[in-house]
């Protein structure tokens, strides 16, 4: 009996080791194993239910945990409402509708020719050290690995893995993420990268900047695009919040336009499945 138990353990050990090696090789060549795809598809309804419940709980707990922030937001909204009331009454409905539409069409306005696929979050990474989301769009919807992901506010990240009807998206706060970028005021070039130390603060770094570059706090940073980049040009990444100089050059911290921590199932994410200059 004891021998049989040991045999089971040894067999399981060999299987676990084989799985680790095979999946590591798959990860290196960028292939998603069929088991992962099947499990993900089977568990999708369960994950959807879990996410809905989590959203409901979050909404309820926000009343207590974020009371101050909500109170301030409420005050701001009251003031905004009062200001709006002063405007011409006939225009109010049209104005609101226009603002709402503008928010959602901003990307299409500024970066014409993007082919966007709308997606929603169904789950998150469980490892506690990476901001990886699973979205409800996959290869059947035309999604491929390395495609950029946006929100109406700006760049979120890129597709790391794509399954049949799901994909895993890595945020720009991760160390594996790097985007060629430029600043709006002076056109200074650099690379926006994730940094472990800054990730908890919701910031990332801009590196490889010319030492004499003219940068200021508040400068906006956009994607540079180009043939070697997966990102189309002129998409908002964020703005500069601090500039320091050390031996290696300038250390610039960027606050992404997208608040990664507040992305949930209600948030609208868009995957860029193609753009005009890509051909």
């Amino acid at each position: 009996m004891r021998l049989e138990k040991i045999r089971v353990l040894i067999i399981c050990g060999i299987v676990a080791l084989a799985i680790a090696i095979v999946t590591a090789l798959f990860a290196v060549i960028g292939f998603t194993g069929p088991v992962r795809g099947i499990l993900k598809t089977v568990a999708k309804p369960l994950e959807w239910c879990g996410t809905q419940v989590a959203n409901a709980v979050n909404g309820f707990s926000e009343v207590f945990t974020d009371y101050d922030r909500l109170a301030q937001e409420n005050e701001e909204l009251r003031e905004e409402l009062a200001a709006l009331k002063e405007q011409v009454q006939d225009d109010t409905v049209l104005r609101e509708e226009n603002t709402w539409l503008k928010e959602h069409l901003e990307i299409a306005d500024t970066s014409a020719g993007l082919r966007l696929t709308e997606a929603r979050v169904i789950s998150r990474a469980i490892d506690n050290y990476s901001t990886v989301l699973t979205l409800n769009r996959g290869t059947v919807h035309g999604v491929k690995v390395n495609m950029p992901v946006l929100t109406p506010d700006g760049v979120f990240g890129y597709v790391k893995e794509a399954g049949l009807d799901w994909c895993k998206v890595v945020s720009l706060l991760e160390t594996v993420s790097s985007i060629g970028a430029y600043t709006d005021r002076t056109g200074a070039l650099g690379v926006v990268q994730g940094d472990l130390a800054l990730r908890d603060e919701g910031l990332c770094l801009m590196t490889y900047i010319d030492k004499n570059a003219d940068l200021r706090i508040g400068d906006r940073v956009y994607t540079k695009g180009g043939e070697e980049s997966n990102y189309p040009p002129d998409l908002l990444i964020g703005e500069i919040v601090s500039i320091e100089a050390d031996d290696s050059g300038l250390v610039v911290r960027i606050k992404p336009a997208v608040d990664v921590s507040r992305i949930d199932t209600v948030s609208r994410l868009m995957i860029i499945c193609g753009y005009a200059s890509e051909g």
């Binding site: 239910c49 998150r124 990474a125 160390t175």
Partner: protein, 190 residues
């Protein structure tokens, strides 16, 4: 070839696949899927939690204590694959972690009773193993790390969260084993 034939003969003599084995596969399979889905969706999205708890860790220890190391080893591998499929990126290393937990339970829990207290005692070294695993994961996939930052930012919140949410898992596994154990006990009585 002859070995295969003898296994088949033995299986036929025993009346094919045992119903309690099928029951166990279905119950543990569902438990694995539900726990993994809960981890990657519900617990991973709760903003009031400091970290996502590793519920599968509790399930593996509970199964090892209540149903045996053999069952726990199989659940460890299947659970590890499912957890990584739903909530992981890249290589699937969780089966190795959970198998390590089963081995730990095997070594330390040999003379322990199948009680909740034993479960809690065995959860502590398993959490240490989990922390080591996370540390290796961060070092491999994130790169440069400061130990103090990782300890306060990832390891401690993860351990506390896992400890708290794993406690009910023991009773959930106990509940799941009721149909299997009842049948086995009835058969033994007959």
């Amino acid at each position: 070839m002859s070995r295969m034939r003898s296994i088949r003969r033995k299986s036929r003599r025993q009346g094919g696949i045992r119903p309690d084995l099928v029951k166990r596969i279905v119950i543990f399979g569902l438990l694995t899927l539900i726990l993994s889905a809960a981890m990657s969706s519900f617990f991973a999205q709760l903003t009031c939690l400091p970290a996502t708890p590793d519920l599968m860790l509790g399930a593996v220890i509970a199964i090892a204590l209540l149903d045996g190391r053999g069952s726990a080893a199989i659940v460890a591998v299947a659970g590890g694959i499912t957890v990584d499929a739903l909530g992981g990126v890249g290589a699937s290393l969780s089966p190795l972690l959970y198998l390590g937990v089963v081995l730990t339970v095997g070594l330390l829990g040999e003379k322990m009773l199948s009680s909740f207290l034993s479960f809690l005692l065995l959860l502590l070294p398993s959490l240490f193993l989990r922390a080591l695993f996370s540390l290796v994961g961060i070092w491999l996939f994130v790169g440069e790390i400061t130990f103090a930052g990782v300890l306060t930012g990832v390891l401690l919140p993860e351990a506390i969260s896992t400890f708290v949410f794993c406690c009910p898992i023991y009773f959930l596994v106990m509940l799941c084993l009721l149909p299997i154990k009842d049948r086995r006990e009835r058969a033994a009585r007959l």
